[in-house]
């Protein structure tokens, strides 16, 4: 299993969104799918099967782990499994964000953005 965050670059968009959501806090499956939907303004709708397939891959790559920690505030009677981001996952996200930022910083991309804006 690769240990260096750079090995995961470029991250798939869906992986990035999931990892970003988990970076904010531990979540269970449904909350995660809601979060993804919110972050993408409803453009990406993750259903259970697809979501857990992705999570399984991320678990296998060591970017995500299941969490023993449960939010105390929530009144949950069920044994829902929570997921958390691993340190490796966090570094992978940071590396990806850096990569995207430098990509967006190039002058030609900036020009593209400006031309799009008025429409």
């Amino acid at each position: 299993m690769p240990e260096k965050p750079s090995a995961f670059q470029p991250l798939k968009p869906i992986d990035l969104i999931l990892l970003l959501s988990l970076a904010e806090g531990d979540r269970h499956g449904y909350a995660l799918s809601q979060e993804v939907e919110r972050r993408t303004d409803g453009a990406v709708r993750l259903e259970a099967g697809n979501l857990y397939r992705t999570l399984r891959r991320l678990l296998g790559e060591g970017l995500v782990a299941t969490s023993g920690h449960r939010p105390a505030s929530e009144l949950d009677d069920e044994r829902r499994r929570y997921f958390r981001i691993t340190p490796l996952g966090l570094r992978a996200v940071e590396a990806e964000v850096r990569r995207l930022r430098s990509l967006l910083a190039s002058p030609s991309v900036k020009a593209l953005g400006r031309r799009q804006e008025p429409t």
């Binding site: 269970h28 499956g29 449904y30 909350a31 799918s33 709708r45 259903e47 259970a48 099967g49 697809n50 979501l51 857990y52 397939r53 999570l55 399984r56 009677d77 069920e78 044994r79 829902r80 499994r81």
Partner: protein, 908 residues
């Protein structure tokens, strides 16, 4: 017992569907997926169309991700260096299938309305089939719930040498078989008995089983709490009064208190110690009858109160079953037990048992063997009817697919032009229809969930508690998916073949009327088929309704109105015979004093309750029917108390009714019916003549008018009434005719019984009319189900016809325009279109009639003598179908007539 929170119907279906995932994925994420689905349900169910939207999202996701998972699992398994292929060439079958699936999914999503309507139609069809199959599965097919490896279990009964007329077993015979059998790892015995369970001075009725010590071991059932019987408890008669409670009884009666194990309860007046609780879902060997309590064989004398049956080879009262050893076939079991039986037969046995030197061995079913045959026939009939609905629905969807193929000519053309072989396009179109059917079947499974719940609620008025678990299980799920896939391929084939048959030039030519002639010919054939099938269904429904109507109007010869009944069993109260007699005497005389009570009596069996008693009689000078050797005449009889004929209002034509003077020590008397007199005493006075039952001589004291007390359908047969006092039975049915309100009568019966003995279980009071209605239950259920199916079929057929007529009208727009321009009136146009509809109806009805005549004889056993080709039914049903079909063609006709001819001509 942690049952977890209440799970909704959707959740259960979703949980079942998870079986589509590979096992590894299911194990790792099954719970998560379920939790996710539950969260979504909670959050979104209340929104408009919430449930539909949730399923529309969840189902494609589930199918897609499950197939991807399976594909991946497959690839990982075959990832050996040799078979490593490049997938780019797309030569793998799975790969093509996957890409077809993806493409189909996208297309279906692009036309959501088409997908939704088609899926709904399929859901209706598969829902009908799945509901009925699920019911059949729950009643008869499901292997014994709660048992380990139920397929190894066999039922064992004694029989004639040729295996016919099977019979229960005696305890000595059971021991003989058990100790000598090597083809079976164990043989267990059991017998049903009714019980009164008393705790804290309060009695409850319960259905009990007396079982051999190895009963639970042979079944492979594990206790939910405590233990089952020890070998020690199966040795000495009367020594160890222990009892096992069913999970249901434990929850109902003791609130699921685990402290019950070790406590003492009273069964039929004797103290017993509870040693264990059976697991939930295990209801005994005949799972449809919910057993409450299990008592070890050695305690039979105490709970049955009939003396020692363990050493009597003449009392056949046990049912046997065994577990086949691994790898042993039914035939070798039969051979071994057959030899053992032949060796036993005749040893200390009375003649009628000694005759049974053969054996009947078959897989253990959920129902008593004698109930299985007719029930399965009935279920097969209903399954066939629901299959017709599926066929009609599928034909409808085939029609929709055909129309869609027409609309997609351009797309198919492009693919052909790009070099796609026809087979590839057919496969793609087939994938689409199969996928559509699988979607629809998910809706069908939901429908089946609701449907089976509704079926479970049909009240069945019988004495034993029925426990039916009809809701779909994995087998049903597999059946539904399989049926859907099969119908998808079958009914998608014609549209796919036609949709792909396309010469490249045609769309380039101008659209001319008649271009899709072959296509419309197929559609026409489909609609005719639909009309024919729905006629068949409606005829079946009509026949059942007629049978029900006739059954209700048959004069049973007795008056069940305003008669309340309640059953008692004094043996289960721990009473001696003398005390039992006293109890019934006191109860009846107390009730008779109440105002409003017209007559009070009791009988061993209630009329038309489905139970009968029969025996062989000898009548001096009467010649028995020609086919019977000897002078014995088999007849049904009823054991009744004085007042029986008054309560049921059966007129006595001659002689007298039974009286208190017909006591045990007095001379034997009988009352016979008219048919008895007509057949056996044709000359002279019947009253005063005598006949024989065994060694008893019975003198006829009265002649009653014929009444159908054993069966509604049969013609009156010779029948005998015997006084209950001269052959006492501890279980009796009290009958009270009263002008008072039924609720008051029920309370009165309960109060008087409790006043006599406060420890008695609460009496269940049932109107006799309800008990007797059991005789019509099959007709009632069948009329209801086929009626609903027929309506669904009619609706679907009407929609199909409407579609075809509307399509044809749109195709003939130019012709209609020209005709109207030339002076045809709107009425002419309507008539012209209607004529086309009539043609369909005429052909459809003729084919349907032929089908119906060919098929309805199957229903004969359920029809009460209504002819299977009953003219009135056929006529009425045809009229209904024709009417609906005309309406379906009138709507497009009227629209065509209302159109502006110039506008049509301009667009053409």
């Amino acid at each position: 017992m942690s049952g977890g929170p209440e799970r909704s119907c959707s959740e259960r279906v979703y949980a079942l569907l998870l079986a589509l995932y590979p096992r590894a994925f299911r194990c790792a994420f099954g719970d998560d997926l379920r939790d996710f689905f539950r969260d979504r349900l909670r959050a979104e169910r209340r929104r408009p169309f919430g449930l539909a939207r949730i399923w529309l999202r969840a189902l494609p996701d589930l199918l897609a991700s499950a197939s991807l998972e399976r594909w991946q699992a497959l690839r990982e398994r075959s990832r050996t260096p040799r078979s490593r292929r490049t997938s780019r060439s797309g030569d793998s079958l799975v790969q093509t299938l996957l890409s077809d699936l993806k493409y189909s999914l996208r297309l279906l999503r692009l036309s959501p309305l088409f997908t939704l309507i088609a899926a709904l139609v399929i859901a209706l069809g598969t829902g009908a089939v799945t509901t009925i199959f699920s019911a059949a599965n729950g009643i008869a097919l499901r292997p014994l719930p709660g048992a380990a490896e139920p397929n190894e279990l066999v039922e064992i009964r004694r029989a004639e040498r040729d295996g016919s007329s099977s019979h229960s077993a005696s305890y000595p015979y059971y021991r003989h078989l058990r100790d000598g059998a090597h083809s079976l790892s164990g043989i267990a015995a059991w017998s049903m008995l009714s019980l009164t369970v008393t705790t804290g001075g309060e009695g409850t009725r319960a259905l009990g089983n007396i079982v051999s010590g190895n009963y639970f071991t042979v079944l492979g059932v594990r206790p939910a709490a405590g233990r089952f019987f020890l070998p020690d408890e199966d040795r000495v008669p009367g020594a160890r009064p222990v009892v096992v409670l069913s999970h249901g009884f434990w929850t109902r009666r003791f609130g699921g208190d685990p402290g019950v194990v070790g406590r003492s309860i009273t069964l039929n007046g004797h103290p017993f110690t509870v040693v264990g609780i059976s697991p939930r879902g295990f209801h005994g060997v005949f799972a449809a009858l919910a057993t409450d309590v299990w008592v070890p064989m050695m305690m039979q004398a105490e709970v049955r109160g009939t003396g020692d049956l363990l050493s009597s080879a003449g009392s056949a009262w046990l049912e046997l079953f065994g577990r086949r050893r691994e790898g042993t076939g039914l035939d070798s079991v039969r051979a071994e037990l057959g030899t053992a039986t032949a060796a036993f037969a005749g040893r200390d046995e009375p003649r009628d048992l000694a005759r049974l030197s053969g054996i009947d061995v078959h897989p253990l079913g959920a129902l008593p063997d004698d109930a299985n045959g007719p029930l399965l026939g009935f279920l097969a009939l209903l399954l066939a009817a629901s299959g017709l609905v599926l066929a009609i629905a599928s034909v409808n969807v085939a029609g929709m697919l055909l129309a869609r193929a027409t609309a997609r000519r351009r797309e198919v053309l492009v693919r052909i032009a790009l070099g796609a072989p026809r087979a590839r396009i057919v496969r793609q179109l087939l994938t689409e229809s199969a996928l559509l059917f699988v979607f629809g079947s998910a809706g069908g499974i939901l429908l089946a969930e609701w449907g089976t719940r509704a079926l479970e609620r049909i009240p069945i008025p019988v004495e034993v508690p029925i426990s039916l678990e009809l809701t779909p299980d994995l087998r049903v799920l597999a059946f539904a998916l399989g049926t859907a896939l099969l119908s998808g391929l079958l009914f998608g084939l014609v549209p796919a073949l036609q949709g792909s048959r396309l010469d490249i030039s045609s769309p380039l030519r101008a659209e001319t009327p008649g271009a899709g002639r072959e296509r419309s010919r197929t559609r026409n054939a489909l609609v005719v088929g639909q009309l024919a099938l729905s006629l068949l269904l409606l005829v079946a429904a009509g026949l059942f309704l007629r049978a029900l109507d006739r059954g209700q109007r048959v004069d049973p010869g007795f008056d069940a109105a305003q008669v309340a009944t309640a059953s008692f069993d004094t043996r289960t109260y721990g009473y001696s015979e003398a005390r039992g007699r006293q109890f019934y005497r006191d109860l009846k005389s107390r009730l008779a004093t109440h105002p409003g009570v017209v007559a009070v009596s009791s009988a061993r069996l209630l009329p038309l309750s489905g139970n009968t008693t029969g025996d062989e009689f000898r009548i001096d000078g009467a010649s028995p029917s020609a086919d019977r050797a000897g002078d014995v005449i088999p007849m049904n009889f009823a054991q009744v108390d004085p007042g029986y004929f008054e309560v049921l209002r059966i007129p006595l034509l001659r002689g007298r009714s039974f009286a208190a003077t017909d006591a045990p020590e007095a001379a034997g008397v009988a009352i016979v019916n008219e048919t008895f007199v007509r057949r056996y005493v044709p000359h002279g006075e019947a009253v005063g003549r005598s006949f024989h039952r065994g060694d008893d001589t019975l003198t006829i004291v009265g002649v009653a008018k014929d009444a159908r007390v054993s069966s509604l359908s049969e013609e009156p047969k010779p029948f005998v009434y015997l006084p209950l006092a001269q052959s006492f039975s501890p279980d009796q049915n009290l009958m009270v005719r009263s002008a008072a309100d039924p609720g008051q009568v029920a309370a009165m019966i309960r109060d008087e019984a409790r006043a006599l003995d406060p420890g008695l279980p609460r009496a269940e009071v049932t109107p006799l009319a309800v008990v007797a209605s059991l005789a019509l239950l099959p007709q009632r259920v069948a009329a209801l189900i086929t009626g609903l199916l027929g309506l669904a079929g009619l609706l679907l057929a009407a929609v199909g016809l409407y579609g075809v007529i509307a399509y044809s009208v749109s195709q003939r727009g130019r012709e209609i325009g020209v005709r109207m321009a030339l002076g045809a009136t709107g009425r002419d146009v309507v008539a012209m279109v209607l004529r086309e509809g009539i043609r369909f109806v005429a052909i459809g009805l003729s084919i349907g009639m032929a089908l119906a005549i060919a098929a309805t004889w199957l229903m004969k056993p359920f029809l009460f003598g209504v002819s299977a080709t009953d003219g009135a039914t056929f006529l009425a049903v045809s009229a209904v179908l024709a009417g609906v079909a005309m309406l379906a063609s009138y709507l497009p006709a009227r629209r065509a007539a209302a159109a502006d001819p110039m506008a049509i001509l301009r667009t053409e």
